[in-house]
């Protein structure tokens, strides 16, 4: 059977490519459609009206609309990892090989066991969950929730990783036009011809908006021809960017808009390297909202059967996609617009059963029957519409046979984006609709149907005028077009109906709204939350107004007095993938590599993430099977001879200027003013509240030039803090700052043979003997025959040690050179673990100790805080509460039994007495196995710790369920006198 034969509802004409035949599957069954089809239009062409089951009652449902406002025809598109639930069949473009499944039904859309909910509907009314699943509380998570989720959930996720990529992008424009219907096209023409930088965005894959769906004349030619010609002109303008398949989903502060461009959603899969979607951040000088209007349905008994849809959607299917939803169609309308649908369908040869108009005065037709003053009071048909029951003006009943019913209750301006900055829509009595009101997002104006201008000419004209007014430019000439808007009146629901759906996606009926009101949920916001009206993925685009109108009627108020809820971003759902963009996996944040990274990788180093840095953690050699073997070896070798560690990651900040010393004196709590040129000093920075912020060293290279180092983690925040002090607290100090962290590759060369090793590479004119270059010296030198370098004699390990820095590009070569020249000393590279072990052995504080709660006093550096000067944090560091007798003091701990484990985070308790928070004596911050001591050791903060040397305590860790006996010691396990580092 050919495709055309099976497309029983396909008509002539339309904007589809009949030359292409696209095969697709829905619920396992094969169909064909054409390029230009949506999934919904192709299914309707094939005679398929039933596309899903409703959320709560599992009622059979078909498409209500032909656009993104669709509440019903929600399917899972694609298979496997690419399966995407909750996709609107009405906007999903057809492509070869498309597969889709209906949702919310089991085992099949035609026979759904949960449809029993429909029979039990009396129990599932408004507030059902709140009333039923209240007690006992413990039942909620284990019993109720899983059942509800299975019964009521929308589509399910594939639970596989999304194989596609998503991009983020940034675009700027003078004018962002949202919606490419008649008003948007005219706005673009006006601004584009004036040379403005214009972005015209539309969620559809074709530009034209309603003009693609209407059988009317614009500028003396068919609307479609005018559209094609206009789009061609716009395409030729380099200053106009046409963004199709792009939904502007949110209006954010100060003219920033979020837009999702579906780059590859219309393809079987994205082309290699291409993103599936791009989330654009658009910076718009001005914005015109030309989003048109959304037709509103009328609520009547059983108004949710497949085949019942908005009359305008029917017009779209017939005119644009050449599809009739059925061979025999009726129209139910409260305004003139419904008659246009009847005329268009009739012109295409579709049989019109009747036009049922609620008004007594209606347009009449020579071609089909018009029932004035009549109403649809019920419908029939098991899995789709078969009959409508009509009450005629004289009260008599009549049953009409039809496979589809077009419903038109008038149009609501699409005000969604005008609300995103809390603008409240205003009531327009003439239209019986809300129009944009309150404070619009800055720079936004609204044109066309979105502003309440419902005629075609009005749309064209207001689009041109809006753009002209925005920039004080000449409006493009407005083509002739129909200039009388279809008359519309307020008709929200048919009297006496109960199971008449307002919100088809969340299954909220007229009865539910009445019940909610009866139960006291009288505010619109309460109504929403109690009934879930308008809270589905469509945000109530087709349902909110009906709910409001009914609320108003019950309360005896006017609709504007009841109020309206405002819309929030996003306009339509946005996939999490688009929000994440490229920030997944290893691309979640940038990676920083040290200059010796490639060398370390060759050596088989194990790396660890330290902030964004990857640092070598240890360097295993052949035969080592456990990290401890590598780390112990690195520590021992360094302490016995010499080791080299890449410490480039420490922050380096260049501080220059006549007041550089004064500046550092303000930043560090210890004195810096008198530091001699060629010397380095340890410095502790406090926060203004007296808590330690960061530590490091500052070397004075010249009277007016210091090099400050920070910890790896705090390099950014410390730089920011320094700029704050410079610009905000000392604006007249002559100080200049710049980060040089990445400019220099810096290596710690530590161990008794460190000088000997360095002497082999430092150029001979520089004397680095202990006499000429003593502990805490620094200098600009050259190495390896003339390369500029910096040398600092500082020690984190407690050994004789240097840090040597060369421009980063030479870091790799310097490390190789150090290894080569160090062979005679059995040099080892060491990683962050060995570095950590040696600093714990030496009792140096690091991030674990500078943990945001500790003071200089706690760190045993209380006396460093200069009383002779003011620096950041000194005043509050003197507060009594931070200086109590029993303040925590940094000490060491080691186990009484050599094999016992010291657990970082464990708490210290007196040798006897209760183990509880009230008797807590302190806690261990850092722990490591010390090859030097021969057991694990730890650094700890203990109350009055400095006065408790030798005390036996219990180290308790409820987390690891351990308790060991420890002894309080000095934090300096190695060379407490510091003789080695001064050697």
């Amino acid at each position: 059977m050919s495709g055309q034969m099976t497309q029983v509802n396909r008509l002539d004409g339309g904007q589809i490519d009949r030359g292409s035949s696209l095969k697709f599957k829905f619920d396992g069954k094969s169909f064909t459609g054409h390029a230009g089809d949506t999934l919904a239009s192709a299914l309707l062409a094939n005679g398929v009206r039933l596309m899903g089951r409703s959320f709560k009652y599992h009622r059979p449902r078909g498409p209500l609309s032909a656009g993104s406002e669709e509440p019903n025809a929600i399917v899972t598109l694609r298979d496997g990892a690419r399966a995407e639930p909750n996709t609107r069949a009405t906007t999903a473009e057809l492509f070869e090989g498309l597969t889709a499944r209906s949702q919310n039904c089991w085992p099949s859309v035609k026979f759904d066991v949960m449809a029993v909910n429909d029979a039990a509907s009396d129990f599932l009314a408004a507030g059902f969950y709140y009333k039923t699943f209240m007690w006992p509380a413990s039942f909620w998570e284990k019993v109720y929730e899983p059942i509800i989720r299975r019964a009521a959930g929308l589509g399910a996720l594939s639970m596989q990783e999304d194989p596609d990529q998503y991009d983020k992008g940034f675009r700027h424009c003078d004018l962002l036009i949202i919606g490419a219907g008649p008003s948007g096209l005219m706005a673009a023409l006006t601004a584009g011809r004036a040379g403005k930088d214009v972005i015209l965005a539309d969620e559809d894959f074709a530009l034209g908006g309603r003009l693609l769906s209407e059988n009317m004349a614009v500028g003396g030619k068919a609307a479609l021809d005018w559209t094609t010609q206009t789009v061609a002109e716009l395409s030729s303008m380099p200053n106009v960017r046409l963004m199709t398949r792009t939904t502007v989903m949110g209006a954010f502060d100060h003219g920033i808009y979020g837009a999702v461009e579906r780059v590859s959603d219309h393809l079987f899969e994205p082309a290699a390297g291409k993103p599936r979607q791009i989330l654009w951040r658009i910076y718009a000088g001005k914005t015109m909202l030309c989003a048109g209007a959304i037709e509103r349905p009328i609520a009547f008994e059983n108004n949710d059967r497949p085949g019942i849809m908005l009359a305008s959607a029917m017009r779209s299917y017939v005119n644009r996609w050449a599809v009739t939803p059925a061979q025999r169609v009726a129209i139910f309308t409260s305004c003139d617009d419904g008659h246009r649908t009847a005329a268009d369908l009739h012109a295409k040869g579709v049989k019109i059963a009747a036009v049922i108009d609620t008004r007594s005065e209606t347009p009449m037709s020579m071609d089909y029957e018009v029932l004035a003053g009549a109403q649809v009071i019920n419908t029939k048909g098991r899995l789709g519409l078969a009959f409508v029951e009509v009450q005629q003006a004289d009260g008599s009943m009549r049953t009409l046979e039809c496979g589809a019913l077009g419903v038109s209750g008038g149009w609501n301006p699409n005000v969604h984006l005008t609300c995103h900055q809390r603008g409240r829509p205003a009531w327009n009595a003439e239209l019986s609709a809300f129009v944009p009101g309150g404070t619009l997002p800055p720079g936004m104006s609204v044109a066309g149907a979105a502003s309440g201008d419902l005629s075609t000419y009005g749309a064209l004209h207001s689009g041109a005028k809006g753009a002209a007014d925005a920039f004080g430019i000449k409006a493009a000439d407005v083509p002739t077009a129909a200039d009388t808007p279809a008359k519309q009146s307020a008709f929200w629901y048919v009297e006496g109906c109960k199971r008449a759906w307002l919100d088809q996606q969340n299954d909220v009926t007229v009865k539910d709204v009445k019940l909610a009101h009866q139960e006291g949920f009288k505010s619109v916001e309460h109504l929403k939350r109690y009934t879930t009206l308008g809270m589905a993925t469509d945000q109530g685009k087709t349902s909110n107004m009906g709910g409001l109108a009914i609320m108003a009627e019950i309360a005896g108020k006017g609709i504007p007095d009841v109020g309206t809820t405002i819309f929030r971003p996003p306009y339509t759902p946005v996939s999490i993938g688009a929000l994440a963009g490229r920030m997944r996996g290893m691309e979640f944040h940038p990676t920083r590599l040290t200059p010796s990274h490639f060398w370390a990788k060759e050596r088989g180093a194990v790396f660890v993430e330290v902030g964004n840095w990857l640092r070598a953690q240890w360097f295993p050699i052949e035969g080592e099977t456990h990290w401890r073997q590598s780390v112990d070896r690195e520590v021992k070798a360094t302490r016995a001879s010499v080791g080299v560690c890449d410490c480039t990651t420490l922050g380096k900040i260049d501080v220059q200027g006549a007041d550089a010393a004064t500046f550092l004196n303000k930043l560090y709590c210890n004195p810096f003013a008198k530091l001699a040129v060629g010397k380095v000093r340890y410095g502790l920075m406090l926060r203004e509240d007296g808590i330690a912020m960061d530590d490091g060293t500052a070397g004075r290279l010249a009277e007016d030039h210091f090099v400050v180092t920070t910890t790896t983690a705090k390099a950014g925040p410390v730089y920011q803090h320094m700029e704050f002090v410079r610009q905000c607290l000392m604006p007249d100090a002559d100080v200049q700052l710049i980060s040089t962290t990445e400019a220099w590759a810096q290596y710690a060369v530590a161990g008794p043979n460190s000088r000997k090793l360095l002497q082999k590479i430092v150029d001979p004119e520089f004397d680095i003997s202990n006499e000429a270059f003593e502990f805490m010296a620094c200098a600009n030198i050259t190495v390896c025959g003339g390369l500029r370098a910096r040398l600092f004699r500082i020690s984190f390990s407690g050994e004789m040690a240097f840090e040597i820095a060369v421009p980063s590009r030479y870091g790799d070569a310097l490390m190789r050179k150090l290894m080569e020249e160090g062979e005679e000393f059995d040099v080892v590279p060491y990683g962050t673990e060995a570095l950590g072990v040696m600093r714990i052995e030496k009792g140096h504080a690091a991030g674990n100790e500078l943990n945001g709660t500790t003071t200089a006093n706690n760190l045993g550096m209380g006396r460093m805080v200069s009383k002779k000067k003011d620096s950041i944090g000194t005043v509050l560091s003197e507060r009594a509460g931070l200086n109590e007798e029993d303040a925590l003091k940094l000490v060491g701990v080691k186990p009484l039994a050599r094999e016992d484990k010291i657990t970082a985070g464990g708490h210290l308790m007196a040798a006897d007495g209760p183990v509880d928070a009230a008797h807590d004596q302190g806690y261990v911050t850092s722990a490591a196995y010390s090859p030097e001591v021969g057991s694990m050791i730890g650094l700890a903060f203990i109350k009055s710790g400095d006065a408790r040397m030798g005390e036996k305590m219990r180290l308790v860790s409820p987390v690891t369920d351990s308790e060991v006996e420890v002894e309080v010691t000095s934090a300096h396990f190695v060379d407490p006198e510091g003789g080695r580092q001064r050697a």
Partner: protein, 188 residues
């Protein structure tokens, strides 16, 4: 002449070049950089020195003076980055120090930055996927600091105008390169 062999920011012996669609990305290791920050009370003298260095053209806010491969661009109030050919000006900072004396703080910045030249008709589209700057409105000689993949970068629009130079933190050269190449594939 010293004996140490440099590597490029991406870790190679030679610069990396990627051509994808209508864009070419070329790593550059030929640029020496030094920051110049006018000292308090010496701002005018500092500007005079800089202007002198650049044949009377002082980079204004958000601007660069281009003299390929030499350039100077504005980086902050009374702050500029000066560039010169690495081969002849590896000691750029000390050269500038002699010239500016006490009127400015000079800091070597050569290896603080990875330098990438992005060129081709797709350049603007690539930049749009990378950072929030308004690249379409940028003209030759514009210099902006911006954020690419969370990395603070300078973007300089050069001559011809289908060419931007991107300076990003050297340690993240690999991540920056990956981000740019990914964007190039996206628009190709």
């Amino acid at each position: 002449m010293h004996s140490l062999t440099p590597i490029t920011a991406l870790g190679g012996q030679t610069v990396r070049v990627d051509t994808i669609g209508n864009a070419e990305l070329r790593e550059s290791d030929g640029l020496a950089l030094a920051s110049v920050h006018g000292r308090l009370g010496h701002e005018a003298a500092c500007r005079a020195h800089l202007s002198d260095l650049l044949d009377g053209r002082l980079p204004a806010v958000g601007k660069a003076v281009l003299r390929d491969p030499e350039a100077a661009f504005w980086t902050g109030p009374d702050q500029w980055m000066v560039g010169a050919p690495f081969a002849s000006h590896e000691d750029l900072a000390s050269q500038l120090k002699s010239r500016f004396g006490d009127t400015a703080s000079i800091t070597e910045q050569t290896d603080a930055w990875a330098c990438f030249d992005l060129q081709g008709s797709a350049m603007e589209q690539v930049v749009e996927l990378l950072c929030p700057i308004n690249v379409r409105q940028m003209t030759t000689g514009d210099a902006q600091r911006t954020s690419i993949h969370h990395l603070g970068c300078f973007v300089l629009r050069r001559d011809p105008s289908d060419w931007v130079r991107i300076l990003g933190p050297r340690a993240s050269a690999g991540s920056l390169h990956h981000a740019i190449v990914t964007a190039m594939r996206s628009v190709a």
